[in-house]
């Protein structure tokens, strides 16, 4: 066995390891806010990444188009059968919209939890090691993105913004393991049933809707939307569909499994929903204990909605 480490090297290695452990613990403590050098590096890498991602998206787009072309016949048949249904629905929706506007005008209510300003963004990267479910978008604070905004695709909610730099922003997906990640949701039944999306079941690949009042009825196939009551997300973004209802561990409330409406792989274009009515600092962590009257440095930890 040859001498693997000389004394000098061993000391260097030990110092290095200590330094790294210190760095890791330092950066683990405050992951929500990027320091200035971090921001600069993130923006630079993000710029390079967006250059690479454009041709990549173009190529995957071609493959998707070919795929879509092959399915055209079946899809067309299916869609035709639903077209008439849709026309009736469209009329009904228009009617309701007009009526809603009129009624709002009568009671002079301008604020609407549903309203939001959409900001289009392109996904430039996904955390390649996938231990955390994260996306990186090509829009940042310069485009008006703030922490805690809802992120959706045309299909449904996918996550929320957790960190921003001037030209990029980071999205934590709904499928995260983070136990502090909550979204207040409503089951669109005849009667509205409120609950919280808390956690993701990796085995079933479904979200878990917790804290549903056990006296209210939720059944398989019900649609789940954001309720807007968390104070951050706009109301009425589709989350998914109930697939199974059980009682929770303590038997006090109901628990439902929700199959997400959005497809979490192959995300490319997303919409960031900036809600128009007042946002509240919706973090339940340290910041709720802060003194809000004397403006101290409140940092949004971004936990929960």
């Amino acid at each position: 066995m040859p001498q693997f480490f000389s004394n000098k090297r061993l000391i260097l290695l030990l110092v290095g390891v200590i330094f790294l452990v210190a760095l890791i613990s330092f950066s683990l403590r405050d992951r929500q806010n990027a320091s200035l050098p971090e921001q600069i590096i993130k923006d630079t890498v993000g710029f390079g990444q967006s250059l690479v991602s454009k041709p990549a998206h173009y190529i995957t787009g071609i493959f998707n188009n070919v795929d879509a072309l092959l399915n055209t016949y079946d899809e067309n048949k299916r869609l035709k059968s639903r077209l008439e249904e849709f026309a009736v629905l469209q009329g009904e929706v228009n009617d309701l919209k007009i009526e809603n506007d009129k009624l709002r005008a009568i009671i002079d209510k301008k604020e609407d939890l549903k309203k939001f300003n959409p900001i289009q963004a392109t996904v430039i990267a996904r955390n390649p090691d996938q231990w955390e479910e994260k996306l990186i978008l090509d829009q940042g604070t310069m485009d008006g993105i703030k922490v805690n905004m809802a992120v959706r695709t045309s299909e449904g909610l996918i996550g929320k913004i957790v960190q921003t730099t001037p030209y990029t922003s980071e999205v934590e997906l709904l499928t995260t393991n983070n136990p502090n990640y909550r979204v207040s949701a409503v089951v669109a039944n005849k009667k509205q049933v409120f609950g919280l999306i808390e956690g993701f079941d990796g085995k079933r690949n479904e979200l878990i809707l917790k804290r549903i009042d056990s006296s209210l009825k939720v059944k398989k196939g019900d649609k789940v939307m954001t309720s807007g009551l968390g104070g951050i997300f706009p109301k009425g973004i589709l989350i998914g569909e109930v697939t199974k209802v059980t009682t929770d561990d303590y038997g006090l409330t109901k628990l439902a499994y929700v199959k997400p409406a959005a497809n979490f792989s192959m995300l490319d274009h997303v919409i960031i929903a900036k809600r128009e009515s007042i946002n509240i600092d919706g973090s339940d962590g340290n910041s709720t204990n802060n003194d809000e009257t004397n403006k101290t440095t409140t940092n949004t930890t971004g936990d929960g909605e």
């Binding site: 760095l23 430039i124 990267a125 090691d129 792989s265």
Partner: protein, 176 residues
């Protein structure tokens, strides 16, 4: 002249390509989600460390590890330690193994498996994940190894060709 700039350029391209390929994952396979983690860059660095220069490979590992940490993970010091560490092990084996392409490929894949296992243990410790080892093995490690081995079988010889071109060039320069 080309090989000199090509070596870092390939590393940069692989760094960016990793995340583009990550967008395809997770894939549904037999009703289960499997995660494919692209590890192109570290495979390339392992090759660099075996065929070219251990120190240079470790330096690249440190730089790209740091970028990786800041851009994706937000935990500085994780990849910037692991990448050079893996390169160090790879470079140290040169004396003991035969540098046949097949042997290097197998070794690189083993080292990537080691990297994945260390990462899993680390994230388990800081409770970013709760999945036990058996699930990790089926959901992540095996599919990741299969995907990366396909990548390496396709491109491993190109890496070696490129690196050897650079080594040859350097040798010529020293003669002149």
């Amino acid at each position: 002249m080309m090989a000199r700039f090509l070596i870092p350029l390939v590393a940069v391209v692989l760094f960016f390509l990793e995340t583009e390929f990550a967008l395809f994952s997770p894939i549904e396979w037999n009703g289960e989600l499997v995660y494919l983690v692209p590890r192109f860059l570290i495979l390339y660095l392992i090759f660099l460390s075996i065929y070219y220069n251990r120190k240079r490979a470790m330096l690249y590992g440190l730089i790209f590890g740091l970028l990786y940490d800041i851009f994706y993970i937000d935990i500085i010091g994780l990849y910037s330690f692991l990448y050079p560490f893996i390169c160090f092990i790879a470079g140290s084996t040169v004396k003991y193994i035969h540098q046949h392409l097949f042997v290097t490929t197998t070794l690189s894949l083993l080292l990537v498996a080691l990297l994945e296992i260390i990462l899993h243990q680390f994230f388990l410790i800081i409770s970013f994940t709760t999945i036990p080892f058996s699930e990790f093995l089926n959901q992540r490690l095996i599919p990741t190894m299969i995907a990366n081995s396909i990548f390496l079988i396709m491109l491993g010889w190109t890496f070696r060709y490129l690196i050897q071109a650079r080594v040859l060039q350097k040798a010529n320069q020293s003669i002149l």
